[in-house]
Symmetry: C2
Subunit: 281 residues, 2 copies
């Protein structure tokens, strides 16, 4: 039976660290502040922004929520971002995705100053990571690295396999790994030799959005598994990995829910505090 | 015996295309122009800049060579780049690397406007490629893709293996492949399971700077091999792949010299013409 890579436990403990960091910053006269941009009335996005604001409050990070109507134009969003980029009291800027139709997400995200891009989604942030440092990493990648670190799992000489290459997990993770002493393989969900590839993984990261797509026969004994799947079925959430069967083979595995998910907001807060600390010299 | 991926033949033919493109642009009143920045008196760098300028001339691209003394400060270089970024008559900016000690290459390269970064070396260009398009690709990656295209080698469903992850070949190539329907593995030259990994390659790209590091037993029958090695020994140049032995197993292979090398300047010229065409709308 595999070790559970428990995101809730890691998250609570890291939150204590973050609170202490925020107190330190405030002692030095810096009020760590995150701008949250929400466009339109998508219920799920609204709730997610509320959760982020609430968790910021718990950590001692101030938030400025800009809730813009669905009619807001792209150039209005861009000029708000420009204004926030210039405002020294704002340390991080997060645009809740997806944006309404007709707005180019890449253009919006690209406008965020790299020093405030605490979501790590702009091409500049990704490019800096790829070149070996300095860019913020997405919360998903920070969460994966944190879970491994938290459980003392060595990364040295491991063969990683990444299945699914989204802008928020697969691509930035691969960009990070290119600068580490590891070997890694990237594949799509519909790779005809997928099982052959996943079976070579010492560390397997799955982010494809298909319930239980990775089955027990696709995993090597002792593999470490990070499952970013979030597949809803009748109000229950399932991972991309068949947890019950695979946990008997893996040496460590994230549960879904309770693995990567609980760390995501925490990692956003940590990036915001990092941005505040950097901005203050 | 493998097909030779002959960069000289491809280059001469592409040069004819580029000349025609330059003539078209000039007819529309656009004089495609590349700025070449050379700092210091490194003989090799100087010669390389001269070659680039000469080849630009052949293609109908105008060049402005800025040869700065070794004492030039970083901020002087940055303000020159700023000026070239703003100058609408300049379509591409290329800084010859390496730069003298004390100058941060990343800071310099980062200052080049993405629309003029025809060398594709800035983090913004790399990040754009990683996110799926719009950024210029390095000449090395363009050359690799061109050689495959030129010889009609299908990329579909291929397993690529990239050995060596430099900022000019391995990393941008991996960033490109992340947006294609392929599987790929990245490894370092000192991967203890290197041979096991290279033997899985349908397309093998090697860029590690070690003469004949890839031997015949490390290659699968029918593999396509792109060798970016440039290892000098007594005025002769050798690839990273043991060409004589491997050519009996591979289905296609770049000779060294005469493979990727001859295409590098040609690809820089092609990017410059692309930048000029884009700038003119």
């Amino acid at each position: 039976m595999a070790i559970l890579l428990d995101g809730r436990a890691a998250s609570s403990s890291i939150m204590e660290d973050l609170k202490a960091q925020a107190i330190e910053l405030r002692k030095r006269g810096i009020i760590p502040t995150l701008s949250l941009l929400l466009v339109g009335d998508d219920k799920y996005s609204g709730r997610y922004v509320d959760m982020k604001a609430k968790r910021c409050g718990e950590a001692g990070i101030e938030t400025r929520v800009h809730h813009l109507s669905v009619e807001t134009t792209q150039s209005q969003i861009l000029s708000l971002i420009e204004q926030l980029n210039r405002d020294p009291s704002i340390h991080g800027i997060m645009v809740q995705l997806p944006l309404p139709k007709g707005i180019n997400e890449l253009t919006i995200v690209e406008a965020i100053s790299p020093s405030k891009d605490v979501d790590g989604l702009s091409p500049m942030s990704l490019g800096k990571v790829l070149m070996g440092g300095g860019g913020f990493l997405s919360a998903g990648v920070e969460a994966i690295m944190e879970l491994l670190h938290w459980h003392g799992i060595s990364l040295e000489r491991k063969h990683w396999v990444i299945v699914g290459l989204s802008n928020i997990v697969g691509k930035p993770l691969a960009a990070l790994l290119m600068n580490m002493d590891v070997t890694f393989t990237c594949c799509n969900a519909d790779d005809p030799r997928l099982a052959e590839n996943t079976r070579r993984a010492d560390i397997l990261v799955v982010d494809i959005g298909r319930k239980w797509a990775v089955t027990a026969d696709m995993v090597k004994k002792g593999c470490v598994i990070l499952d970013n799947g979030n597949n809803y079925e009748e109000k229950k959430v399932y991972g991309d990995v068949d947890f019950e069967a695979v946990k008997e083979i893996a040496s460590a595995i994230t549960p879904v829910p309770g693995g990567i998910g609980p760390l995501l907001i925490t990692m956003l807060l940590r990036n915001t505090l990092k941005a505040a600390a950097r901005a203050s010299g």
